[in-house]
Each structure stands twice: as structure tokens, then as C-alpha cells.
């Protein structure tokens, strides 16, 4: 995408729903309806700070049937590069923001016989929209929601009211943990499992499902990586004939954009592969942080996802 396609929205309500999570309601700046979307979609929020621009992906948690508002939940990241702090500290009711059209990289499988949804912490957000799609449908589903402690259980009252028995809560503080083996070893054929949350949770679910013999096509996960910080490095863009400095707390993609070069992207979280860029020359090593390239691709070092990946190198030339 590029910014020509963004929508102008206004923040209409903000609520601190847990010590770390704020809930934002966004309405179209012109008062009209927002574009329709499907559960599991995310938007990119463009934040124009004084010194730099952030573009962060957030899952839509509101009902796909309510197009008067979009709702997102933003967790304050301790090691934030600025995006979540911007949302928490600088955005108020009435603030104007730009967002990109919704994109769904975490859709429900439409021919599944059953859905098992597993959320950890802020990973609950895409499921809040999906259960709106699932609610009237005939396909059974269950929702497992794991949080640190009761005070961290965002959107719990809304979920309880809507889901009743289908919702199972797990509190770390009370020693409760999801029994992954029990859950995944005893599901009917045609069940799909979806997991969103911290990397450890995703890894456990994926590994357990595979060990239980689930086909890969029935295991779905989404995790937006924030671009990790790293050492500063320089990159030469072969087509633009431009050298770009990448500081420790800015991603390669952000640095390239700041230099005025457009790179096509969708998720900015290492998931979709859209910003994949060819590496032409490298003296050093790539630091791959994405979930898109295979291990073999990563080892080859011919391509990089500039949204989350970096380099430790003396010299790097990209095909841009």
C-alpha cells in the first residue's frame, strides 16, 4: 500500500481496560460508514510524531457488522520503539489518525467443521471480531483465553456476556494453564485451530498440534512482530542510488521510507511477505526476524523482509 489509500479517522472514545491495554474507538472523519471487513482483519495506524512516523498494525476487535466505528486494543510495550507509547500518551478523544484499509491475514476457514480459538493477552483482539461472524453460524467453536491475572483480562465482561460457556479463562496468577495436549488431541476431524498471542504460546500450540497429527492447513496463527531494535547499519539502494542510515530504534523499512523511497507493504509485522526485497550484495549477516521466509531461504540470504529484519554488516545493497 501507500499512503494515498489511507482513510482519515477520528478517535471517538478511549478506555483503559487493563493496566497495559487501552481500547480505542475510531470513527470516519467525514462521519460516513467505514469499509466493511471480515473478522481477523487488521489495520495499519499511521502516527505522525514530531520526529518520526510510526505505522503499526492492530487487529480490528469490533463487530464486522458495525461500520460506524472500528475498535482496536493497544498494549503498551515496555520496549516500545514509540508506536504504542504514541497511542497511549499522545492520542486523545478527538485526535485525527490515518489508517489503511483492513487486510485479513488471519481469516476463519469457511469450510471448517469446528473452530478452536486460543488467545494469549492482547492476542484476544482478532477473536473478538471473529466470534461476531461465528455467533449466528451453525459451526461450533470454543474460545480459550489465557492472561497473567484477572486484572489483565481485557474485554472479559463483553466476552462473558456473549460467549458464556464457550469461553474458558486461564489465569497464570492462579496457576491455571491451557492443557494443550488434552485440547488438541481430542478434536473432531475438520477442526481448525487459531492462536494469537505471545511467541511462546504460538510455538506451543503449533508444536502440539503438529505432534498430534494436525495437517498444517488446519493450524492458523498470527503474531505481529514489532521491529526489534539492533545495531545501526547502512544500506545502499541500487535503483534509487541512495545510501540510507538505519538507526538502532528504527526499522529498515521505516528508514527507507524516511529517505523517500516507497516499498510496497501490507502487514509491517513480518507475516505477509509483501515487502520481500532482493539482497544484491552483502558483507556481513542478515538478522531475519520475520515469519515468512523459510529457514532455508533465511540461510541463503538472497531476500529480506525490511519491515522487521535488519543486518549486521559492513556493506549491504538492496534491489530498491
Amino acid at each position: 500500500m501507500n499512503d494515498a489509500q489511507t482513510l482519515a479517522v477520528e478517535v471517538t472514545a478511549i478506555e483503559q481496560v487493563t493496566p497495559l491495554i487501552k481500547h480505542f474507538k475510531l470513527g470516519s472523519a467525514d462521519g460516513g460508514a467505514l469499509p466493511a471487513f471480515s473478522g481477523g482483519s487488521h489495520i495499519i495506524v499511521v502516527m505522525r510524531g514530531a520526529l518520526r512516523m510510526h505505522r503499526n498494525p492492530y487487529s480490528l476487535l469490533s463487530s464486522p457488522r458495525d461500520l460506524d466505528h472500528y475498535e482496536i486494543g493497544v498494549r503498551r510495550m515496555e520496549e516500545s520503539r514509540g508506536g504504542s507509547h504514541f497511542m497511549h500518551d499522545r492520542v486523545h478523544v478527538g485526535s485525527r489518525l490515518e489508517i489503511a484499509h483492513p487486510v485479513n491475514l488471519f481469516g476463519l476457514d469457511k469450510i471448517a467443521r469446528k473452530h478452536v480459538l486460543i488467545a494469549g493477552g492482547i492476542g484476544i483482539t482478532p477473536f473478538l471480531a471473529q466470534i461476531e461472524d461465528l455467533h449466528g453460524a451453525a459451526v461450533p467453536y470454543e474460545l480459550h483465553y489465557s492472561v497473567r491475572s484477572p486484572e489483565h483480562a481485557a474485554f472479559l465482561s463483553r466476552l462473558r456476556e456473549r460467549e458464556g460457556e464457550r469461553l474458558k479463562m486461564y489465569y497464570d496468577s492462579e496457576g491455571q494453564a491451557i492443557d494443550f495436549d488434552g485440547l488438541l488431541s481430542n478434536q473432531p476431524l475438520g477442526t481448525h485451530v487459531y492462536v494469537c498471542g505471545p511467541a511462546g504460546l504460538i510455538d506451543r500450540v503449533v508444536a502440539t498440534a503438529k505432534a498430534c497429527g494436525w495437517p498444517g492447513s488446519h493450524i492458523h496463527w498470527e503474531q505481529f512482530s514489532a521491529p526489534p531494535v539492533g545495531d545501526a547499519f547502512e544500506v545502499f539502494l541500487a535503483r534509487a542510488k541512495l545510501t540510507v542510515h538505519v538507526p538502532p530504534d528504527q526499522s529498515l523499512l521505516e528508514s527507507i521510507e524516511a529517505a523517500g523511497v516507497e516499498v510496497p507493504y501490507l502487514c509491517r509485522g513480518g507475516v505477509c511477505g509483501f515487502c520481500q526485497t532482493r539482497v544484491l550484495e552483502l558483507d556481513g549477516e542478515l538478522v531475519h526476524n520475520d515469519h515468512f521466509l523459510s529457514d532455508a531461504d533465511k540461510a541463503q540470504g538472497k531476500n529480506i523482509m525490511p519491515c522487521v529484519s535488519r543486518a549486521r554488516c559492513k556493506h549491504l545493497v538492496l534491489d530498491l
Binding site: Q5, P35, H101, G107, D109, K110, C272, G273
Partner: protein, 347 residues
């Protein structure tokens, strides 16, 4: 285009279809150069020049009423030309919304759409339809949503569900197809559907196209042109009816090719659908006879050269084997060897 409809023209029996001078000038010639080979020739489906076939999302031209009538005839005889698997219902509604909103916005003289929440009121003046219904409630429409709106649009529509990193052909209304069958292709993946296409698989055209389409964005549709040739202005060249139209190929001579042989161009558009996350693939067919085409000197020279040098595998795949030489011979007097200007504009 200010469409003055020609409601009585036919695409069967007496084949009274023809193009007005204006329709010829806006014909979407698919050959920007004097030779043709596949490419992933996808571009954003943004509004093109005024009066062109890509001025609007869905082009409504002088053949609108006649084409809708032809579609009714095909669907009445062969109801399986419309099919939709049960999980594609939300995608059907997405399609109905996309087409109704586009037509009402782009052709307010012909179509209008009023909404009060989920209560919609649709008026199609050229076809004399006035329908009030509840968006999302199938029982309030006379037919399933895609069947209903598909009968009011020119061109075919195939709806693909997206899952397992692939696109699955799982709904459609298809009556103006170039020798392929929705009934046969239902449930296929993207590459299975395109299995018969020669050369392109080896060129990895479908790997790249699929990857591109999986990331197709809401609000950013894309388009491309494809082409083949058809004897008579026959829209419905289906495999099911091959005995009706296949033998026409044996009747072409260098004397009658100008009137019998038509260039058949598909304007293909692809839209991401919002509620279903499916993709609708619109395939709009334009027909032009060689005699009509030859009224544009540049096009006659170019099509003559393209056909003369076309790769043998493509000649075969496009079904031109029996009559290509006759068409080339018919066009030859129009090609004096003068270079053609780049691009597809008439001159």
C-alpha cells in the same frame, strides 16, 4: 460512453450483433506491440480515460440489454451456469453490493440504489426492474444474490474463496466464456483451474499471479486483458455446447473471414471482497469482427502481424489452428508494412 442500447441484437441464430463506430473506437485491443506472448500484465483497476471501457469499475455499453437477455436464455436452458457452494453466501452478498454500488454511482441515469440500514431499494431502468430487499436476507430476493445481480451485469463472475494460501473457485455465474466450464472447474484451486494453459506454468506465471492475488487489497482492484478468437459474435462458447459452435471453425475461408471471425477480448477485473475476504474475478467479453477491426488501419496491421507470428502452442490452445491462416490472408491486404505506433490507441 453514452450508451444507447440495442436491445434486439442477438448472439446466436441470426447473429445480428454488431459494433457502432463509437464501440469500435473504444474496443480494448489487447496488443500493445506487433507480437504477443504471455506476461503477468496486471495493472491497478483505476478509472481510465473518459469514454473508454475502463472509465468505470463495470463498463455498461450499447450491448447491455441484449447481453443480459442472452444470459437469461443460457441460464434458462442450463441452470448450472450459476453455482455457489453454501459457504460462499457472504461472498455473494459482497458481489451484489459491489456491482450495485458501482453501477448506481457510475450510471445514475440507468441505475439507482437507496439504502436505509439493511433495507435496500434497487432500480435497474434499462431492464425495467425495481426491487426492495433486505441486505443479507436471501428470502427477500427472487434469486440468490450473485444469480440476481449476475443477470444484470455484462460479463461473467467467478468468486474464489481464499484459504490454505490458495484461491478456490467456489461460486460463479458464467455464460459468456471462451471454452471453459464453471461446472467442471467448481472446487478447483487456482492452478488446477488454469491447468490447461500451455507455456505459462513453465514461465511461473501462475505462481506469481497467485502470490499477487493472495495479497490483493480491499479498495485496490486490478485488471488485465486476455484474448482469443470466436467464429460469429457468439458469447456462449461453452465446452458443454461444443457441438453447436465447434464446427463453425471449419466454415472459415479467406473470403468470409472478415465477417465470420471475431477477436474476443476479455477485460478481467479482480476485487477483494470485504465481508467474506473472497475475491471476485470479473470476465467481461468484447467482440469485434475482422471487418470492423480493419476500419482502424493500425489495428489491422497489428493484428495481422500478431496472428502471423503467434507461438504454435498458443495457436493451438486458443483454438485457432483450423482458421488462423485464412484470417491472416484476409488481413494481409490491410498491412502495407508501415510501422505501427506503440500502444493500442487507434492512431
Amino acid at each position: 460512453m453514452k450508451a444507447i442500447f440495442k436491445p434486439h441484437e442477438t448472439f446466436r441464430d441470426d447473429f445480428s450483433f454488431c459494433n457502432s463506430g463509437q464501440a469500435i473506437r473504444r474496443f480494448p485491443l489487447p496488443f500493445p506491440e506487433d507480437e504477443y506472448m504471455y506476461s503477468v500484465n496486471i495493472e491497478p483497476h483505476v478509472s481510465g480515460p473518459k469514454g473508454s471501457v475502463v472509465e468505470f469499475a463495470f463498463d455498461v455499453d450499447e450491448h447491455y440489454v441484449a447481453e443480459c437477455r442472452e444470459r437469461e436464455l443460457v441460464l434458462a436452458a442450463e441452470p448450472l451456469r450459476f453455482q455457489a457452494l453454501p459457504h460462499m453466501l457472504s461472498a455473494q452478498w459482497d458481489c451484489l453490493e459491489l456491482i450495485m454500488e458501482s453501477l448506481a454511482r457510475d450510471y445514475p441515469a440507468h441505475f439507482s440504489l437507496a439504502k436505509l440500514g439493511n433495507r435496500w431499494h434497487w432500480i435497474n431502468r434499462p431492464l425495467g426492474l425495481d426491487q426492495q430487499f433486505i441486505f443479507g436476507d436471501v428470502d427477500t430476493l427472487p434469486r440468490q444474490p450473485l444469480d440476481y445481480i449476475g443477470r444484470q451485469a455484462q460479463g461473467d463472475f467467478v468468486v474464489m474463496d481464499q484459504r490454505e494460501n490458495d484461491l478456490w473457485t467456489e461460486a460463479g455465474v458464467v455464460t459468456t466464456q471462451a471454452d471453459w466450464s464453471l461446472d467442471f472447474d467448481m472446487g478447483m484451486t487456482f492452478k488446477e483451474w488454469h491447468g490447461p494453459v500451455p507455456l505459462a506454468h513453465e514461465m511461473q506465471v501462475f505462481d506469481r499471479a497467485l502470490k499477487y492475488l493472495l495479497n490483493l487489497r480491499l479498495g485496490q482492484p486490478v485488471r488485465r486483458l486476455n484474448w482469443t478468437m470466436t467464429i460469429h459474435p457468439r458469447l456462449d462458447t461453452s465446452p458443454e455446447n461444443y457441438p453447436k459452435w465447434g464446427p463453425d471453425r471449419t466454415t472459415v475461408t479467406a473470403q468470409n473471414a472478415g465477417d465470420l471471425v471475431h477477436l474476443r477480448v476479455e477485460l478481467q477485473g479482480l476485487w477483494r471482497l470485504p465481508r467474506s475476504n473472497a475475491i471476485v474475478f470479473g470476465i467481461r467479453c468484447y467482440l469485434i469482427s475482422m471487418r470492423e477491426l480493419a476500419t482502424v488501419p493500425k489495428w489491422a496491421r497489428r493484428v495481422h502481424r500478431v496472428l502471423k507470428n503467434l507461438h504454435p502452442a498458443l495457436v493451438d490452445y486458443k483454438g485457432l489452428t483450423r482458421y488462423r491462416d485464412a484470417v491472416v490472408e484476409w488481413l494481409a491486404p490491410y498491412d502495407d508494412g508501415t510501422p505501427t505506433t506503440p500502444g493500442t490507441a487507434p492512431e
